[in-house]
């Protein structure tokens, strides 16, 4: 992909140039062109995120939670897509950002089966982390609850898949296609019907899934979870 003029993900080997950026009034030295989200996370600055994978060359930018304000930009910017430049001045918190994250987060919860107490991801869930970091409630307060009654797929030996907990980040599909190179799951349908599924939407055990478990490790929530 050397001829790609688009976003490059920044990890260009050893001879990378370092630039200075400012995040929330603190200065950091980071490799030029590295995507802002990873530059921030590596330096201990948390920015909410669900769909981002550092290895992914073209960020999907689907979860819309990693917004930041950058000086010189009129509108909030997704940090997962933004390469860093010398002198960039970034704010991870502002009234506008906080509201967008809060509403984006509640939107996700409105469509998420919320039973943290019984969830295998309890404690390691990225949604819980976002709630903790940003002081958000883990419940739907203002919005309508959009019930998702898709049944749980218990067919694999060591893990299970609960579509009602899925946040559609797409990380499992990416690792399935690009790391495990199996091609068992994909994003099917569209809009509110969009979901992670196998060919023909069969149970995982009836598909070509090898049950390697890569997708389970990639899941930021409890949708794909190891069986107790």
């Amino acid at each position: 992909m050397s001829n790609n003029n688009g976003n490059n993900n920044g990890n260009n080997g050893n001879n990378e140039k370092m630039v200075t950026i400012t995040i929330d009034d603190k200065q950091f030295m980071v490799p030029e062109g590295k995507r802002l989200l990873w530059a921030a996370l590596e330096n201990g600055v948390y920015i909410p995120h669900l769909c981002a994978l550092e290895e992914e060359e073209k960020p999907s930018a689907g979860c819309r939670l990693c917004f930041v304000e950058i000086e010189g930009f009129l509108n909030p910017v997704t940090s997962c897509t933004q390469p860093v430049k010398e002198g960039m001045i970034v704010r991870t918190r502002s009234k506008r950002i906080d509201r967008m994250v809060k509403n984006g987060f509640e939107l996700l919860l409105s469509n998420h089966r919320l039973n943290c107490g019984k969830c295998a991801a309890n404690g390691s869930c990225e949604l819980q982390k976002i709630a903790r970091e940003r002081g958000l409630k883990l419940r739907v307060s203002r919005m309508r609850k959009l019930e998702n009654d898709a049944p749980i797929d218990d067919s694999p030996e060591n893990f299970s898949y609960d579509p009602a907990k899925c946040v559609l980040c797409g990380r499992c599909v990416w690792v399935d296609h690009n790391m495990a190179k199996v091609g068992a799951i994909g994003m099917v349908r569209r809009g509110m019907s969009r979901r992670v599924a196998t060919f023909g939407e069969t149970a995982l055990a009836e598909s070509n899934c090898t049950q390697c478990g890569e997708c389970v490790r990639a899941c930021p929530v409890g949708a794909l979870a190891v069986k107790e």
Binding site: N5, R64, G104, R142
Partner: protein, 639 residues
């Protein structure tokens, strides 16, 4: 390339000569042109075409019967043009089989042009007014629609006879950079909706350093109320093809695509024929007109996804993937199809190109407004008399557009609002009628040029329900990738649906507004970013209607099904007529012992049939809001 210029010129002159001769021959005999674009066909144009063919044969008249595209007067379909030497070419609307056979027997055989059926003449004459003599003709200025409905789209010579492809010759004789400059200079802006400067886009793509580049015509028209791209494809495909070839030459592309919705089979057919004719005449393919420039065009059929109007989704779709947008930058002009620089322009945008190349940037800038030169094409629909496609200079006021060009509101009802730009546009109230239309003024007012859908709403239309309709459309068409669009529009739709059912809560309006703003700012692509516009604009201008729904459980326009009841006014019911009973699909209307009719509210499905059916003489059926609660025995809640 100067040596090639004379070669090109002479090759073109040959084509032109042939076409002009054909055109002259055409004028020597009578001919009939039947508008058989999709809209005409819907109104029965193919039947009319058959009648003309049969009648011409029956009466042994030597007349050519041709198919042409769309003249834009949807309210008058099917439309035909009949020409007979010695008479001006005359246009007839709402032609039925009887009129068709009379036009042959009385006009072509006899000498009576049947003025009683005629709409207008095509050129000034002593007998009959022309289109230009009507208000619509006064305010319309046709550029891209000019030849539509007047030429056979499957006959390249009809296009060439009108100087078609001469702009291509001009372009090929110039340096590509000069062509880009001409378009830049014309200040043409993209007609796909957002109005990005076309020349600038061409320049970026031209400057992108790559061996291979692509140009794509975006004909994935998906707005639920706009069909001008289809009309252009079905009526004048060569205009677009010429524009696309010029674009390819300007940016240095060797392969082009026209991305058309598969739902437009006739457009695809006519386009395919046109492409083949262009190739057969040396205007497309290897070494175009001997210029040394080679370029070809493929048709790609979109599979029905509104989001594919978004450039990155359209590209994904051509690459064989689901039409899911990706983050920009990189912009397609830098890295698009197969990672190569790709220019994507809308059908209308490209259709302007030959005109600009032929007449010059100065000419184009002389039309419209300084910031938005040229014309705007609108699909007038809704409660306006003259529905159809219209083309007016930018800067025309909404009032002129609706009352002069569109001939006013149907049934003398009161104007309430105008929705411009379809699902990404907004609703403007009466106070905005004097707004002059261009890209910026509309955006500023809270609407958008969008795809050019323009729906007139009258006092019987509910603004909440209209907002809900458009939001339901975008919600259905959301690809589902990003949180704000997928879940945000769904959340908004739920709220709006609740409001139309009388289940809205006072705090919903705040939440709606907040969600709308966040979806606008937070969505990944243009579909999501513009989806809240219909809600934002109605909330801004018609907030009181929302409030009445929420606080009083009432729909002021008596449109929202859950908030109305039908009743028969006893004082008005004739007793003797059974029309309402026969009209009811669920047998909810019944005759009382005293012969008055009444509606069983529990059975009533609120289909509106009895109301429409009841003779105007009685006008006994009415809608009431809030709905009548069925408590009284027998559903009699009338008095």
């Amino acid at each position: 390339m100067s040596t090639d210029v004379t070669v090109m010129e002479s090759k073109y002159q040959e084509l032109k000569k042939r076409a002009s001769e054909k055109a002259a021959v055409l004028q020597e005999k009578p001919y009939v042109m039947v508008g058989t674009a999709t809209c005409g066909r819907a109104a029965g144009a193919l039947k009319i075409l058959d009648v003309f063919k049969e009648e011409v044969q029956k009466h042994q008249v030597e007349a050519e019967v041709m198919e042409v595209g769309c003249l834009g007067h949807c309210y008058a379909e099917p439309m035909v043009i009949v020409y007979k030497p010695g008479f001006p070419a005359l246009c007839y609307g709402n032609v039925d089989e009887g009129i068709a056979s009379r036009l042959v027997s009385d006009f072509l055989v006899g000498d009576d042009p049947c003025f009683e059926f005629a709409m207008a003449a095509l050129e000034p004459n002593d007998f009959f007014p022309t289109f230009a003599d009507y208000p619509r003709g006064v305010y319309e200025q046709k550029i891209v629609l000019e030849a539509c409905g007047l030429i056979d789209p499957e006959e390249i010579d009809h296009y060439i006879a009108r100087d078609g492809y001469s702009a291509l010759v001009r372009a090929l004789a110039a340096e590509p950079g000069a062509v880009v400059d001409e378009i830049k200079d014309s200040r043409l802006r993209g007609r796909g909706g957002a109005g990005f400067p076309t020349g600038k886009k061409w320049e970026i793509c031209r400057n992108a350093d790559a061996g291979e580049k692509y140009v794509i015509c975006n004909a994935d028209e998906g707005d639920p109320g706009a069909f001008m791209d289809r009309a252009l494809l079905e009526s004048n495909p060569h205009q677009l093809i010429e524009g696309l070839i010029i674009a390819a030459y300007a940016v240095g592309a060797s392969q082009g695509y026209i991305y058309v919705r598969a739902e437009y089979p006739l457009a695809i057919d006519r386009l395919r024929t046109a492409l083949q004719q262009a190739r057969d005449n040396g205007l497309l393919g290897d070494n175009i007109l001997g210029s040394g420039f080679s370029f070809d065009i493929r048709i790609f059929q979109g599979s029905g996804a509104f989001v594919c109007g978004e450039e990155t989704a359209l590209i994904a779709s051509i690459e064989g993937k689901p039409g899911i947008p990706s983050h920009r930058p990189p912009f397609p002009a830098v890295s698009g199809l197969r990672g190569k620089p790709t220019l994507i322009d809308n059908v209308k945008t490209l259709s302007y190109v030959p005109h600009i190349m032929r007449n010059g940037a100065e000419w184009f800038k002389g039309i419209g407004t300084p910031e938005s030169p040229g014309t705007a094409v609108f699909a007038l629909a809704g409660k306006v008399v003259g529905t159809g496609l219209v083309e007016v200079p930018m800067g025309t006021s909404l009032r002129t557009l609706i009352y002069d060009v569109g001939n006013g509101i149907k049934d003398d009802k009161g104007f309430k609002a105008v929705q411009i730009g379809g699902p990404s546009g907004g609703c403007l109230p009466e106070s905005a009628l004097d707004l002059t239309i261009d890209f910026d003024s509309l955006q500023h007012a809270g609407a958008m040029m969008g795809s050019g859908g323009l729906v007139v709403l009258d006092e019987d239309d509910c603004m909440v329900e209209i907002a809900r309709f458009f939001l339901e459309f975008t919600q259905n068409e959301s690809c589902g990738k990003c949180t704000f669009c997928r879940l945000g529009t769904k959340q908004m739709l739920e709220i709006l649906t609740d409001i139309t059912k009388g289940q809205g809560k006072p705090e919903d309006l705040e939440l709606l507004w907040e969600l709308a703003e966040d979806i606008k700012a937070g969505s990944l692509c243009g579909l999501g970013k513009t989806a809240p516009n219909p809600v934002l604009s109605t909330l801004r201008f018609f907030r009181d209607e929302y409030e009445v729904h929420i606080h009083e459980g009432r729909c002021p326009a008596r449109k929202c099904k859950d908030l109305i009841s039908y009743r028969i006014v006893p004082q008005k019911c004739s007793k003797l007529c059974d029309a309402c009973i026969a009209s009811c699909p669920v047998e909810a209307v019944f005759t009382r012992p005293d012969m008055l009719k009444e509606i069983d509210l529990e059975k009533c499905v609120k289909c509106d049939n009895c109301l429409v059916t009841c003779l105007p003489l009685y006008d006994a059926v009415e809608k009431v809001s809030p709905p009548i609660t069925v408590a009284v025995e027998g559903g009699s809640a009338s008095e």
